[in-house]
Symmetry: C3
Subunit: 139 residues, 3 copies
Amino acid sequence: MRIISNTISIDTQGAGDLIDITAKIKETLRVSNLKNGTLTVFVKGSTAAITTLEFEPGLIKDMRELAERLAPSDKPYHHDATWQDNNGFSHIRASIFGPSLAIPFIGSELFLGVWQQVVLAEFDTRKRQREIAVQIIGE
Amino acid sequence: MRIISNTISIDTQGAGDLIDITAKIKETLRVSNLKNGTLTVFVKGSTAAITTLEFEPGLIKDMRELAERLAPSDKPYHHDATWQDNNGFSHIRASIFGPSLAIPFIGSELFLGVWQQVVLAEFDTRKRQREIAVQIIGE
Amino acid sequence: MRIISNTISIDTQGAGDLIDITAKIKETLRVSNLKNGTLTVFVKGSTAAITTLEFEPGLIKDMRELAERLAPSDKPYHHDATWQDNNGFSHIRASIFGPSLAIPFIGSELFLGVWQQVVLAEFDTRKRQREIAVQIIGE
């Protein structure tokens, strides 16, 4: 049994940016040479999230519209009154989707559907450099 | 410390189907003979999710109505324009709830409340056979 | 590789109570003396959730308003017809946010942003004593 703690860095373009990070995660798993275990993906920060999605242009637009319905960007937020940074909606969107995902791998293959990609969702209002942990516990 | 990677297969009835999979998960844990560790549940595919719920008929209806409010099924989705498969709402509902759950077990008991069941939520529009990983890391 | 299974007990004040449990989690990690691994946080029960949030008074209010929009407390729920306990909204709010979070730690540090706290969200209508597992697998 071993633990491998990798981090990846992703540049985002601000609110509504969705980035497919599946290939980077798979590469981390491949290099580890581990066969069975759990891979945990975690994005640092409170205005981004990790989810899975069929990564195609239509759904990317649908996800942006969903985020806008769940927490409209033109609504006043108490958070903005505290810091004047106008990203109250970013924080609560991130909290709904969550920063973390635990994905099993079996026989060196991540247990993902063919149309199921691991996606970093940027909700902040500005470009960010995101740090993501890709940690593997397995054998 | 050992890893046990089990998969279970569940037939669903399409959008709104909620299935209590707690007994199958507990059986996997029992057979493992492990005492302490983490059990990860993950559903393959991007139109289903795993969550916990008190599994009673009233809440099952409430969850269906919630899903309908979060992502109405009669609204147009960009995803449907891409593939004509009319399940855009299924994808974004699944993304909100997420495909994954990590549950500790302590003294051979899953750390769940008495009224807290592990539930597979089917959001797709048609019957599906779902593959779910139940992976245990423990000792 | 070791497993440490700790539980913490938190008294809550009912619906809308958000409690920062980061310090308790970090203390569990510190005492473990483990350097690298995954820490799983899980709240027992189906009317509470675990999420991450910048824990400041403005966002606490924003989260309460979000929860009210997602599942209004003055709407009738089928669950309430079953049990007459009037917490149907509590259950479905909890299901959206989820009971579980897997957080990597690297070099004895939890992989969290500076403004990213681990938060227990109480959604039930009454005061509760919550049991939370803080389980660490690492080396």
